[in-house]
Symmetry: C2
Subunit: 290 residues, 2 copies
């Protein structure tokens, strides 16, 4: 998969470069590098790059936008793993940031990563029109905050152990993971020079479906794969008594919805030119085992 | 003081408006409002407004920039108060966010406030040229992150109980509080239409001195005022065994440096037209008792 679009090395190189040791306080850069460069599927940068292809975006620009989104994603993982939140010891097969260092460091690592993302998005060297940069910054800040990722995380925390309706579950995930996936796809598109509201809206809808597919697959993998394969604690949702698509619908119905979403996404994408890479990513999300 | 420039009500109204209840997840907005609207001197927005006057800046724009900086300041207070950090129960005379709610909420409140600051700075309705917006976003993100506020906080945490040189102490505060004060002053100036590199550099230097004065006065107040007057725990630095200007230099020498910094700031400002409000703020910083 994706061998035709082997961007993982390029993304990791760029992240490595953004997080150069000489770029500030060594005591902070080291745990930041540990938290960002220790692996990860880099789905968000891949999505930005793939979506950028649909709009002939400048590659360096779209790479930086994707990396900024990855920094936000990584900060959210570091904070989510904290004892006061999900209290997790294992992430990507390694000790979580607060386990490797300490809680205070993990809080500050997350905080600094969020600032850094906006520093990357507003950099004078980023090769994008000012209008596009500002649109992307506004999109990413909204996707990250109260009505996006952080808002979803709060719903998640306070719904643990409670019975959820499918609507609330869907709304929670649309915010918690969906918003940033949507921002990755839409900001990739915004890196191109053309703008069609029609294409933008189509991509927005595809992004919502892909975010949902991503989450349903996560829930399915949680109960069907081992901790070793996942690189994080398996059966975590059951242990934490969290409502998931699997706990609400059962494994078979969850799989059925995933099948349908995947077909829908591929059908919608096939109507957009140069969407082959985005189709491959959707396939990976659908067929992944971790 | 500042009665001629009574902006406190206007700043609080604007913050109140930015944090409207209908703007997202109620479970998150309420603790955010508690953490932001429960008081505070609003030094950063006042600085942006005052500095904007030097460059005939649009008032609504400079107000929003100042409020965005206040959101970042408030997020840093919420995170700094956490048990894993300074472990404080009292802030502005009220229970700290994690005491009033819980730790997870306090972490998310801080995270969401940072996103919201960048949402305000990148808002299409913000009446500034795109170039100015991007310059300000880049300035604020740098001032907040690894080499700014968060970097300084890490140095602070890991220097507790250790002997510090005056240089390290100064460097720590230049990052921890100085960077955001500098960003407030410089971004206020950037809201005006004219740009003189000379004035910008002068303001940058004044901002550094004012940040330092602010910190030295904080250290002096910590040992000379009651918890009641401060609205936060007094003698906190001694209790936490933290190096301060007072612990390193003694009260008298710390006062002497503050006197000299204040004189310098007023002399430098008196050379800039329309700097009366900035001079008044410097006087408040110098003469405040909490």
């Amino acid at each position: 998969m994706l061998e035709k679009y082997d961007y993982l090395g390029i993304i990791n190189d760029r992240l490595n470069n953004i997080l150069r040791l000489e770029n500030g306080n060594a005591g902070l850069i080291e745990p930041i590098r540990y938290s960002v460069l220790g692996g990860g599927k880099r789905i968000r940068p891949l999505l930005s790059i793939a979506s950028g292809r649909i709009n002939a975006a400048d590659f360096d620009a779209v790479l930086d936008i994707g990396c900024a989104l990855e920094l936000i994603h990584c900060y959210s993982l570091v904070h989510d793993d904290l004892p006061a939140m999900d209290n997790d010891d294992l992430r990507r097969g390694l000790a979580t940031c607060h386990k490797k260092y300490d809680e205070a460091t993990a809080i500050l690592v997350g905080d600094a990563l969020q600032s850094l993302a906006f520093e990357v998005l507003s950099a004078p060297t980023l090769n994008l029109p000012q209008e596009s940069k500002l649109k992307i910054i506004n999109l990413v800040s909204k996707a990250s905050g109260i009505s996006g990722m952080v808002g979803g995380q709060l719903i998640d925390l306070y719904s643990t152990g409670q019975e959820l309706t499918l609507t609330i579950l869907q709304n929670m995930h649309a915010q918690k993971t969906g918003a940033l996936i949507r921002a990755a796809i839409l900001s990739g598109y915004l890196c191109g020079s053309a703008f069609s509201l029609d294409k933008y809206n189509t991509l927005s809808q595809i992004a919502d479906s892909l975010g949902l597919l991503f989450q349903i697959m996560d829930d399915i993998l949680d109960v069907t794969q081992s901790s070793h394969t996942l690189g994080k604690t398996a059966n975590k949702d059951i242990i934490n008594d969290k409502a998931t698509y699997v706990s609400l619908l059962g494994l078979e119905e969850a799989r059925g919805i995933a099948d349908e979403l995947y077909r829908e996404i591929i059908t919608d994408l096939s109507r957009l030119k140069n969407s082959a890479m985005l189709q491959e990513i959707a396939t990976i999300v659908y067929k992944r085992n971790h």
